[in-house]
């Protein structure tokens, strides 16, 4: 590794001298019940080597059979990406040796992808970039190697390696973009937005769990720089398995800065794959990769060609969900959110949650408030996706209803969420069990207000002198005495009545 590869050029300086070219390869693990070429469950996890059979273990004599559901998902993804769908295409063998690949070839598609020539419009800060899709093709996943011993967890230096073939043969769709040019300073954001929007699309299609943290959706980031104004693409690097949206953005940024440093020093970029390090936010050298890598592709003779009828393709086109961009515009208008509010909602991945909460009767702004602040924070603290938190839109709407009905205030509502997460029952039951209902009974409140006035004569005087703003201190004291279970508006009224 040369010294310059560790040096970075400030991001603004990169843009002064170079134009970035981006390319993204995203692998989507389909959520089919069974694997791509056999009847084994395609479920995530399981005891190692329990979801296996002669076919996905590549035993001598075993043969593949194409999973029709995977073809259907591939076509739907292709259509949603505005691709043409092949009338006739084949699988091919990609030949290379690696212990986690049972046959020592991957059954993939080569020059005959199921979907090709599409695009996706990506929005960044209100600006639209058209990302051209070169192809989306079907293939099978490999097994998973675990390298035991050694410092790096990589194969080099390991004492031994274990392979779990449960993942071998799980259907993947690889979606490859054409080079994305002209994004300039927004290249990192465009990369992130593309992957994020693609994820949303995949989720809307219902064809994958699309969880980056579980590896259902894996992004490889290709990047090259060319001198400003040049129309010749520079040498690229491919950063593998970047597994969060934020990391996609960071990886592009880092590689731009690293490439610029090397080019500024008059050196050449080494074409290679690079590993992304989530903790340190840098990439390190992987293996050399050149266009001369020879996989000796040839058509898989054990499979018949896939020839989806036009009728079927059109039938599948009819099952496509609303385009996410149009859908967002529609929802934003319906909800009356500002651009900034909508962007935050999208970034937090809570569009669907808010939509369902609103459908359950909550006001859009109230739904936004709960999902974006309270529940996002809790998901973050728990280290889970917000959809995995265990609070449903219906529950959020029920909590908001309690607020609307003045049964609880916002502060008490947070305690209702505590109860929901602890599994204490419905919001109403939690209010009952925890005794959270707001006290608006004037008798109890009046005593508390009197106590507060007596304890804070200075404040009371100020209010008598017309400094109404000082009432806040007394309200605070009352709320404290009532352990938060008071209707703050009524408390204020009582204070002002008594001191007028």
């Amino acid at each position: 590794m040369s010294a310059t590869s560790e040096t970075l050029v400030p991001f603004e300086d990169v843009l002064a001298a170079y134009d970035p070219a981006l390319g993204l390869e995203v692998h989507v693990e389909l959520n089919t019940a069974t694997k791509m070429f056999c009847g084994c469950p395609a479920a995530f996890g399981g005891e190692p080597n329990t979801h296996v059979c002669p076919t996905c273990l590549g035993l001598p004599g075993a043969m593949p059979v194409v999973n029709g559901k995977a073809v259907e998902s591939a076509i739907r993804i292709g259509l949603a990406l505005n691709c043409d769908i092949a009338e006739w295409c084949r699988f091919a063998r990609k030949n290379y040796f690696y212990p986690d690949m049972p046959k020592n070839f991957q059954t993939s598609q080569y020059d005959e992808p199921i979907a090709f020539d599409g695009y996706m419009d990506v929005e960044v800060d209100g600006e639209t970039f058209r990302v051209e899709i070169e192809r989306a093709h079907m293939e099978e996943d490999t097994g998973k190697s675990t390298h035991v011993g050694g410092a790096t967890g990589r194969i080099h230096g390991a004492d031994y390696s274990l392979v779990d073939y449960n993942r071998a043969g799980i259907p993947l769709i690889e979606i490859v973009t054409r080079p994305i040019l002209g994004a300039g300073e927004k290249a990192p954001a465009v990369a992130r937005a593309y992957v994020q929007q693609l994820r949303d699309l995949i989720v809307a299609l219902g064809v994958s769990e699309a969880r980056m943290d579980q590896g259902n959706l894996r992004a490889d980031v290709n990047l090259s720089l060319s001198p400003k104004g040049s129309d010749v693409l520079g040498t690229r690097t491919e950063t593998k398995n970047v597994n969060s949206f934020r990391s996609v953005e960071r990886a592009v940024r880092f590689e731009m800065q690293r490439h610029a440093a090397i080019l500024d020093a008059g050196e050449a970029i080494f074409q290679e794959t690079r590993h992304w390090h989530e903790d340190t936010g840098i990439t390190t050298s992987g293996r050399p990769k050149s266009d001369a890598d020879d996989y000796r592709y040839f058509p898989e003779p054990d499979l018949v060609p896939v020839a989806p009828s036009r009728e079927w393709v059109e039938e599948l086109r009819g099952t496509l969900p609303e385009n996410p961009v149009e859908r967002r515009a529609r929802l934003q208008e319906a909800w009356g959110f500002t651009d900034l509010e909508m962007r935050d909602v999208v970034a937090a991945g809570v569009v669907e949650a808010i939509e369902e909460t609103v459908a359950e009767g909550a006001a859009p702004q109230a739904a936004r408030k709960w999902w974006l602040s309270e529940l996002s924070r809790r998901a973050n603290d728990a280290g889970v996706e917000i959809t995995e938190l265990g609070v449903t839109p219906a529950q959020v709407a029920a909590v908001q209803k309690l607020v609307d009905d003045k049964v609880v205030n916002d502060k008490l509502a947070r305690q209702v969420f505590d109860g929901l997460l602890a599994g204490e029952g419905t919001p109403a039951e939690i209010v009952e069990k925890r005794g959270l209902a707001v006290v608006s009974d004037d008798g109890a409140l009046s005593t508390a207000v009197d106590n507060a006035i007596a304890a804070n004569p200075d404040v009371a005087d100020k209010i008598r002198d017309g400094k109404v703003a000082a009432a806040g201190a007394l309200i605070g004291a009352v709320m404290k005495e009532m352990r938060g279970q008071a209707d703050a508006a009524r408390v204020r009224e009582l204070i002002l009545e008594k001191l007028s």
């Binding site: 590549g58 004599g61 043969m63 059979v65 040796f97 049972p102 020592n104 040839f298």
Partner: protein
């Protein structure tokens, strides 16, 4: 005769099935008779026929007992229930080693059955054992078996053909009434020709390949190896038909093969048009083989067929095409043998902590024989970037031309015919060091594999110059396998009349060979 049960081993499968149905014998009796015959003549790598790599005495007898119980209860599973069968060692069998004649799979016992094996078991046929073959079915003499060659029952100094020499020799030596073979470029038909047996390569896709350890997936087919055309039809019907585990298997009912064989045996071929392939006779063909071929043509004419000459000009490129397509597919198929999951594992010498790659290299170096390595190298080279179009691409285009030749020919005639192999059985070792001479054995059988059409080889007699069997090949359009049986049975009946019985009546008794 010293053999206590000569009749049972010399009886055809159809007659054994009839005897079982009539209660004249039991599956245990005839399975034991064949096991005894194997013990008497099969011997070992050093002496005897050496058709078997593994004999499953216990399993075969247990299956025979179960068959007899079913029959006693009046519930046989199939006409062939209880009739024993031998299986080429390239087909996966649970509980029985499946080595493909290679050291790299020594001792491997599959956890699953090939579909054809499952169909044999489901029909109640006891499996006698696994038969010898050229390593991964690569060869025409069975000399490339890592476990030593099989010997031809007609002359133990000679090859039994290949790659399925074991299945053909087992049937020719009366060690089994039926056997399964596989045919990628002639591996059923050429051994059939040189051992005086009947072998059929079905239409590509007519029989499931699931569990057949592939040499070349686009060419391989499983098929029957028997002593009569009718027996081949019985076995073919049993193993044929669609298999959801093999997506290249054709989803159409198997045509009435047994019926076609019975109809053909009446000897009437009137209205049938027979095409003699110009390119598959003449130069390179042994005189005695050609003489028997022409006699057979006369018999077909006498049976009412019209015999004409048909040219298939692209067939002269078939061998070259085959030796590109086959190694390309084979090189990729054989990549899975890497010591990581099953089979042989060899650690490299003088390396303390070898990497996975070093273990793969050492294992593949030690585990594969020369012919296998030759084809892996050929295939890897031909698929390489920059060569793919010139080799694999061109081969596929020529393959299309060969298919078109067949289509044109079948527009004029109902079946095509040729000698099966250019010569009779050659001596062991004679062509072992000359791969090209070895490859020429498959000249006449390869076109059918390249085009996916079915073919049968049946004995046409003994060549005058060496007294060894010659084979007659019949080819039919895809999915018209029934024509093979009609023509084959008619010719067989005429030849049996001429000879006064089956050709195999003349095979040496082989007593005392298994020393």
């Amino acid at each position: 005769m010293s053999d206590p049960t000569p009749d049972l081993t010399r009886t055809t499968a159809a007659d054994l099935a009839a005897a079982l149905a009539a209660g004249e014998t039991t599956s245990v009796a005839l399975t034991q008779a064949h096991l005894d015959r194997i013990a008497a003549v099969d011997g070992s790598v050093d002496a005897g026929v050496h058709a078997f790599l593994h004999v499953d005495t216990e399993g075969a007898l247990a299956a025979a007992v179960a068959s007899d119980e079913r029959r006693a209860a009046g519930a046989p599973l199939h006409a062939l229930d209880g009739v024993p069968v031998a299986v080429k060692d390239v087909l996966a069998t649970t509980g029985l080693p499946t080595t493909c004649g290679s050291k790299i799979l020594e001792g491997w016992i599959p956890p699953y059955d090939a579909t054809v094996v499952r169909r044999l078991k489901d029909a109640g046929l006891p499996i006698l054992g696994k038969t010898n073959m050229d390593e991964f079915a690569m060869g025409s003499s069975t000399e490339h078996s890592a476990y030593g060659p099989t010997r031809n029952p007609w002359d133990l100094e000679r090859i039994p053909g290949g790659s399925g020499g074991g299945s053909a020799a087992a049937v020719a030596a009366f060690e089994a009434p039926l056997a399964l073979g596989t045919d990628t470029g002639g591996s059923i038909r050429q051994p059939g020709a040189v051992t005086g047996t009947v072998g059929v390569k079905p239409t590509y896709g007519g029989v499931s390949r699931y569990g057949l350890v592939a040499m070349a997936n686009s060419l391989d087919q499983v098929g029957p190896v028997t002593r009569t055309v009718l027996d081949a039809a019985l076995l073919h019907e049993l193993i044929g038909g669609h298999d959801p585990l093999d997506s290249t298997s054709v989803d159409q009912p198997v045509p009435g093969l047994v019926e076609a064989a019975r109809q053909g045996a009446t000897g009437d071929l009137s209205g049938l048009r027979v095409g003699v392939i110009t390119e598959l006779q003449g130069e390179g063909y042994q005189a005695g083989v050609l003489a028997r071929f022409h006699e057979s043509l006369e018999l077909l004419t006498a049976a009412g067929a019209e015999v004409v000459e048909v040219s298939c000009p692209s067939f002269v490129h078939a061998l070259a095409t085959y030796y590109l397509v086959m190694p390309c597919e084979a090189s990729s198929n054989l990549a899975k043998f890497d010591a990581m999951r099953y089979g042989l594992r060899v650690l490299p010498e003088g390396v303390d902590a070898p990497s996975a790659e070093q273990v793969m290299r050492a294992t593949r170096d030690a585990g594969f024989g020369d012919e296998v390595k030759r084809r892996i190298i050929l295939g890897t080279y031909a698929l390489s970037s920059g060569y793919y179009d010139a080799y694999y691409g061109t081969a596929q285009r020529v393959r299309t031309l060969i298919s078109r030749d067949f289509e044109a020919a079948f527009g004029r005639v109902d079946v095509l015919v040729s000698p099966t192999a250019p010569t009779t059985a050659f001596k062991l070792g004679e062509k072992l060091d000359d791969p090209l001479a070895m490859y020429l054995n498959d000249l006449a059988t390869i076109p059918a594999n390249l085009a996916g059409v079915p073919g049968i080889s049946l004995p046409s007699g003994l060549a005058d110059e060496d007294g060894l069997p010659a084979g007659f090949q019949v080819l039919a359009p895809a999915m018209a396998d029934d024509r093979l049986y009609r023509v084959g049975a008619a010719l067989e009946a005429a030849l049996h009349d001429r000879w006064g019985g089956p050709l195999l009546d003349k095979v040496p008794a082989l007593e005392g060979v298994a020393r």
